[in-house]
Point group: C2
């Protein structure tokens, strides 16, 4: 079974909005074993919409459109679908009443133009909209199912999940599906990672392996093709195990896992508490930690010691040490971590001091130089990093390295490899 | 002049990557006065690529492709372009040598597969790649210019700017262009904003007005059509002036301006310094402030007083007050701001305390309740907010409200309207 997606909206063609709906739909299709042949984006233009939808219906058994279902004269999907399917538009009294009732409950006045949304091509099956007013519909045109959904992502997704997905599942037995899982790594460069897995990278056919680097680390995506999701998971599990033996220290999570959640979970289960002392990261670490719901269980406090005076005044770093060693030094990172832990009585404290740039670098201490300190009741470690990238990237990399040091500390993993 | 864009890459059709190149190119085209008729995304599949590119060439005078120019067997754009244009592929010795030289400078071994990239359709004009190895080209096919660019956004953009833009400008005199400017507001709901500008919203034809709400505020986009950029700017300026009189307190910036940069600039020019005391925002305000280069000039320090003990210990909030009034109270917000300012000797301090959720709310103090305090050498204000949204949205809205209070304080604007 093949599918195409047609996204409708002039705002897309002006580049004001990026069409993220098609990618989301494509992911869903892959899981249903439906091959996506292509996407198109067209404006709210009858002729162009007709050409795009007609062409797609001639090529593919399933065509999904997004957008153009609103109440205004610009919203032409109903009209064009009826034309391509050679049907008339029928006014559904019940639908109109349901819309009016929905509006009534919100206490808002019902705009009469909304009644345009009650016109549906004859013979089409309705796709209810649990969020907004515009319903979608499924219209059979020869051997093709034309499925129209709104452009608002939350509505489109809800309607796909609730109605379209079961409909597509019922169409024909799934013969093969495509499933992906991402293994997230940090603390290793893309080229070093490639060296460590080059042989499996080249030999593995199913799952295939893709690697994507970003400032927080390198993601490894395994994509398996199998007769069902369980089979695909088995294939991915098997290769995933090999990845874990090759990169025992670097894989911190799967798919959309974020390091701050992983670390938070570890601190919670170990009944540990945390304090932060940040200079160059300016609060980014505490922000990431407190973004996680429930972080008040383990996060006690943060010191954002941006100025030298703040370092001495808030965390008792000896001004002489700052003068002699520099604010960006292993000694200051250590003092920050030790005193943050002592003052907060936390189990562990993490500190950063560095040069985020773009200014402030010297030959001896260039932009991107960051020291990170970690202190617990046993010991204190400091780490030196030389990050590349602009200010935002350096700050992000420094926060990620600090969280990764915390993670490895919790697990007793090597802190340097 | 009409244009279409064809994005090539199987990863797009699996939904693993979102095609942002097309939207970027469409924005550039609008500024050049070129009408974009549509986009397509197709996989690395010869037949589908040929159909998509051929169809686009038949309809439009300019067709831009992105992707499929790499060195592997999957990269088919050169081959398909030659086929659609009925040209043979020619091996450019000089191009191959230049690629090899480029590689040599990086110290890496030159992969022989890269030589595939030296095959270009006969008669095509090269589009040099100042960043990577893959060059693009412009091929005239009947009345159409087929322009091929790589899929890597940084390379695609650089090549467009350097070669394609001047080429398109030279093709025909521009008769009309489309230009947008965004006026960014905060501290006002979308419906209140709509009330204030409903009349101009309806009456204005050129520029047109679009409104987009997001957690940080509401953006108003003015889009003008004119014979050149200067004319478009004049049209936008005129309507922009009216917006400024209607929303004198709410517009904080234009286009991609962020409140933290605007506030930073104000603090700098006023020789003011800042300290923060954050509970529910967990460092987000200091993180946003320190994301701006040069923030060390005005940002002194931040207290992330996440636990009650931290509030008392770091900023001397009376534990009895916390017990009697609650950590989330106007009194605690005030004490945090006053003491943060006193301890840091900053000109101004801002504080937050609230319930970010999803847990921790009560009937009396529900999730989303946030108090913000502002203290300077004259006075202290506290503000009560009831935000809606999930944890991340509440934190974001609270940080935005705090920065907006700072901005209005600097400008002497009303803090409540």
């Amino acid at each position: 079974m093949n599918a195409e997606i047609v996204a409708i909206g002039t705002e897309l063609l002006l580049g004001q909005n990026v069409d993220t709906n098609s990618a989301w739909l494509a992911q869903q299709m892959a899981l249903l074993g439906v091959d996506v042949y292509g996407f198109q984006q067209v404006g709210d233009n009858e002729k162009r919409m007709e050409a795009a939808i007609k062409g797609a219906c001639e090529r593919s058994q399933v065509v999904i459109t997004t957008g153009g279902l609103g109440p205004t004269v610009d919203d032409l999907t109903r009209k064009v679908a009826a034309k391509v399917g050679q049907k008339t538009l029928v006014y559904y009294e019940n639908l109109a009443k349901a819309m009016e009732a929905k509006f009534f409950r919100t206490g808002k006045l019902f705009p009469q133009s909304n009644l345009n949304q009650a016109f549906i091509p004859q013979g089409a099956t309705l796709v209810p909209n649990p969020i907004g007013t515009a319903p979608g519909f499924i219209l059979k045109i020869d051997k093709t199912y034309l499925i129209t959904l709104p452009g608002v992502p939350s509505e489109m997704k809800a309607m796909f999940e609730q109605t379209v997905k079961p409909f597509l599942k019922g169409l024909e037995p799934v013969t093969s599906i495509i499933k992906s899982r991402v293994y997230r790594t940090t603390g290793i460069s893309e080229s070093r990672l490639n060296e460590k897995i080059a042989d499996i990278f080249e030999s593995s056919q199913n799952p295939t392996i893709g690697v994507l680097a970003h400032p927080e680390g390198v993601d490894i995506r395994l994509t398996a093709k199998a007769s069902n999701e369980e089979e695909a998971n088995k294939l991915i599990d098997a290769l995933g195990k090999i990845l874990l033996t090759r990169l025992p220290n670097n894989i911190y999570g799967l798919d959309k896992d974020e390091l701050e959640s992983i670390v938070g979970q570890m601190l919670m289960t170990r009944h540990m508490t945390l304090a932060t002392a940040e200079s160059c990261t300016g609060g980014l670490i505490s922000r990431r930690i407190t973004q996680v719901s429930g972080s008040s269980t383990y996060f006690l406090r943060g010191y954002v010691v941006y100025s030298n005076e703040a370092k001495s005044d808030m965390l008792k770093v000896d001004p002489k040490m700052i003068k002699n060693k520099g604010a960006v030094s292993a000694e200051v990172a250590e003092a920050l971590a030790v005193n943050a832990r002592n003052q907060s009585a936390s189990s562990v404290a993490i500190s950063t001091t560095g040069i985020a740039g773009p200014t402030g670098g010297t030959e001896e201490k260039p932009v991107g130089l960051v020291y990170i300190g970690l202190s617990d009741d046993q010991t204190t470690h400091t780490f030196k990093f030389q990050f590349t990238g602009d200010r935002e990237v350096v700050q992000l990399k420094a926060s990620q390295a600090a969280l990764e040091i915390l993670r490895r500390h919790c697990l007793g993993l090597s802190l340097t490899d």
